[in-house]
Symmetry: C2
Subunit: 402 residues, 2 copies
Amino acid sequence: MKNGQRYEPLTVPRRVILGPGPSSANPRVLRAMSLPIIGYLDPAFFEILDEMTGMLGELFRTEQRAFAVAGSGSAGMEAGLVSLAQPGDTVIICSYGYFCERQILMAERLDLNVVALRTEWGKSMDPAVLAEALKEHPETQLVVGIHAETSAGTIHPIAEFARLAHEAGALFMTDVVTSLAGCELEFDAWDLDYAYSGSQKCLAAPPGISPVALSERGLDYIRGRQKLSSSWYLDLSLIADYWGTGHKPHHTAPVSMVYGLREAVAMALNEGLAQRWKRHEANAAALRAGLDALNLEMPVSESDRLDQLTIVRLPVGVDDAKLRTQLLNEYSIEIGRGLGKFAGEVIRIGLMGESCVPANVFALLNALEKTLPEQGFEVGRGAAVAAASAQLARNPSPLYSA
Amino acid sequence: MKNGQRYEPLTVPRRVILGPGPSSANPRVLRAMSLPIIGYLDPAFFEILDEMTGMLGELFRTEQRAFAVAGSGSAGMEAGLVSLAQPGDTVIICSYGYFCERQILMAERLDLNVVALRTEWGKSMDPAVLAEALKEHPETQLVVGIHAETSAGTIHPIAEFARLAHEAGALFMTDVVTSLAGCELEFDAWDLDYAYSGSQKCLAAPPGISPVALSERGLDYIRGRQKLSSSWYLDLSLIADYWGTGHKPHHTAPVSMVYGLREAVAMALNEGLAQRWKRHEANAAALRAGLDALNLEMPVSESDRLDQLTIVRLPVGVDDAKLRTQLLNEYSIEIGRGLGKFAGEVIRIGLMGESCVPANVFALLNALEKTLPEQGFEVGRGAAVAAASAQLARNPSPLYSA
C-alpha cells in the first residue's frame, strides 16, 4: 500500500497454454483489447460490425448470417438450443463426449424432448446411427452433433449429419468451437443451420465471445416460432437483428471483446485459412511423432482424430494431477485433464491458434521427457524432441505474422 | 493490402462518451485487458477470483456472495429472473422505465406470472404501491425493483422495497447497473437478495461482464428449487460454485474481462467509495448548473434524480437525432437518446466513472452552446461553461489516479 493505493496493478504468470482452451492470444489481438471504448450504438461501431459480418462469413464460409453471441462458447451452445427448438420438441443429440453431454443437460433444462444417441468416445460417429434414430423419430425438430469434440479429440461427419437431418425435415446445429480456423469447415457447402464457436481456441483471441453462423432457414424458424424462446439474452434472432443492417438495439455489446475478435479474425484471414489448417496439421504431426518416441499411446485413430487436440493415454502408474501440476509449476505449461469417462485416464494436449507453434511442441516434449521418469515411466532422453524435429524437417510448420 | 496483409490493425475514434453507458474505460483497466491469457482453471486464475470475491464484496458492501456473470448487464438481469423464480411463480416487477419493461419481457418469456406495477416515469416509486400489491398477491415469490433507472434518470427506495418483500415472504432482486460505484449501495444493510450491475458505467471498465451480489438466502433457494432453471449458462448457483472456494468448473470464464473488472474494482476501492460518490455528485452538480444557465429543463426532481445520469427535456423545435449526430460528428461527443415513453422527448447525459470529470462537463456544455442555436434555441454564449465553473469552485470534483 502506497499513497493510499491499496491495490497494485494486476500481474499474471507467463504460461505456455497447451490445454483444450483457452489457448494463448495473439499479441495484435491483445493490443486491440486495450483500444478505447466507443458506444455500442455509435455509427463507428456499426462500421466495425459490418466489416466483421463479411469477415466472419469468410471464416465460416457462408453468405448467410455470421455474427457473435456475447458469452463463451457455452453461451453459443445454449443460444442454439433455446432458439431452434421449443419445449416439447424432439431434439436428437449425438453424444460422443463431454460437451455433447453438456448439450443434453441444457436441452433437458429447456424441456426439450431429448433423444440422446450415445456412441463410443474416441471414435467418429457412424451417420447410420443418426439415420436410424431419425426413422424412429420422424417428428424431430432439431439434430445436434459436434464437429470437433474437445473432450475426446475426435472429428465427426457433420455434413452427412446435416444431410440426414434435412432429409427428415429437421434443422441441424453443430459445435465448431475447436474446429473453426483450425481445420476445414464449410457452413454453406455442408448446408448447416447453426454453428457456434469460441474465440479462445484456433482463433487466438481471449475467451468470452462466441462467433456463430446461422442459416436463413434457421432464422426464419426463430422469427416464425409460436412461442418466443425462454431467453431474451440468447435469442439468436435479436442478436442477428443487432448485427444486421438495421442494427436494432439489443443488450450492450461487449465492445472490447468485439475488437479482439475482429483482430483475431483479421489475423486468421491474413494468414489464409488453408495455411492456418496446414500449421495445425504440421505441428500436431510433430507432437505425435514426439509422443510416439516417448511410447505414449494415442487412442484415437488417424481417421477420427483432431490436429488441434491430441488425446494421450496416461501410462500405468502415472498420476494425472501430479503430472499436470508439475508441468504447470516447474515449466509453466498448462495441459488439459480428462473429462467425464476419460477423467484420470488421459491427458489432453491442445495446439491451437497462437499456441500452435514448433517452440511449444519442443517445450512440452522436453518437459514430458523430464517429468515422466520421475513417476516411473522410463523414456529415452532427447528422443522425443529429436523425433519432432525430424518430423518438422519433413513437413515444416508455416510461419505467420503478428 | 501489403505483403498479403488484407486487414490492417483496427483503429477506433477517440470519443467523449457521455451517454447512458458504456462510459469510457480507465487507462489502467485498458492496460489490464491486454495482459496475456491464462487458463480459467489455472490456480493463478483462481487466486485472482479469490481476491476479487473480497474486492467485489467490499464494493457491494456484502459479506455474502459476490462474483460476476459472463455477459452484459442484461445477462445479469436474466440470470436473476431465471434463477430466483420458477415457471408459474408470481413475480412483482416495479416498472418506472425502459429497463423495468425489459425485465417484464424477460419474465414473460420465462413463463413467470408477472404482476407489473407501472408507475410514472421520472419519479421515484412510492413503496406503498408495492405494499398494496403484496397484499393482493401473498403468493409472490420474487419482487423486482431497479435501484437507478437509466432510462428515466431516477433513483428508487430499494431498501424499503426489500423490507416489504421479505415481510411478505418473497425474495428481492434489484438492478444496480448504473448505481454501483456511483452512489450509496448497501447490499447487506439493505437486506437485498440479488443485485446485478454492469462493468461499463461507474466502474469504468469495458462492457461485457456483470458483477453481482447474491444473498445466502437466494443461493439456498436456487439450490433447493424443484425444477432446475431453464438456463445452464446463467444459473447463478453454478456460477457461484465456480467463483466459490471449490472452483467447480462451469463454462470457460472470460479471462480478459475478469482482468479488466479486477482492475476497475481496484481503482474504485483505491479511490474510496465515498470519494467516488462525491466525484459523481460534484460533476453532476456542475453539469446541472450549466444546463440551468442554458435554460434547459431537467424534469426529474432533486429528491428523485441520479447524479450519474441526467435527463434533459429537448426544447421545442430541437430535433433529437440531428442534435446527437451533430455532437458526435463535430465534437466526437456521444450522449444518449430517450427510450420508450421518453423517445424523442429527452436526451440523456451520463457522467459515470472515467467519463465523470470536469473536462467532459465543459466540453459538452460548450458543444451545446454552439449547436442548440443552430436549431433555433437561443442560449447565452459562455454562460453555461461559466456556471459550471462557478459551481465547481464552490464544490470541487475530487481528483483521482489512473
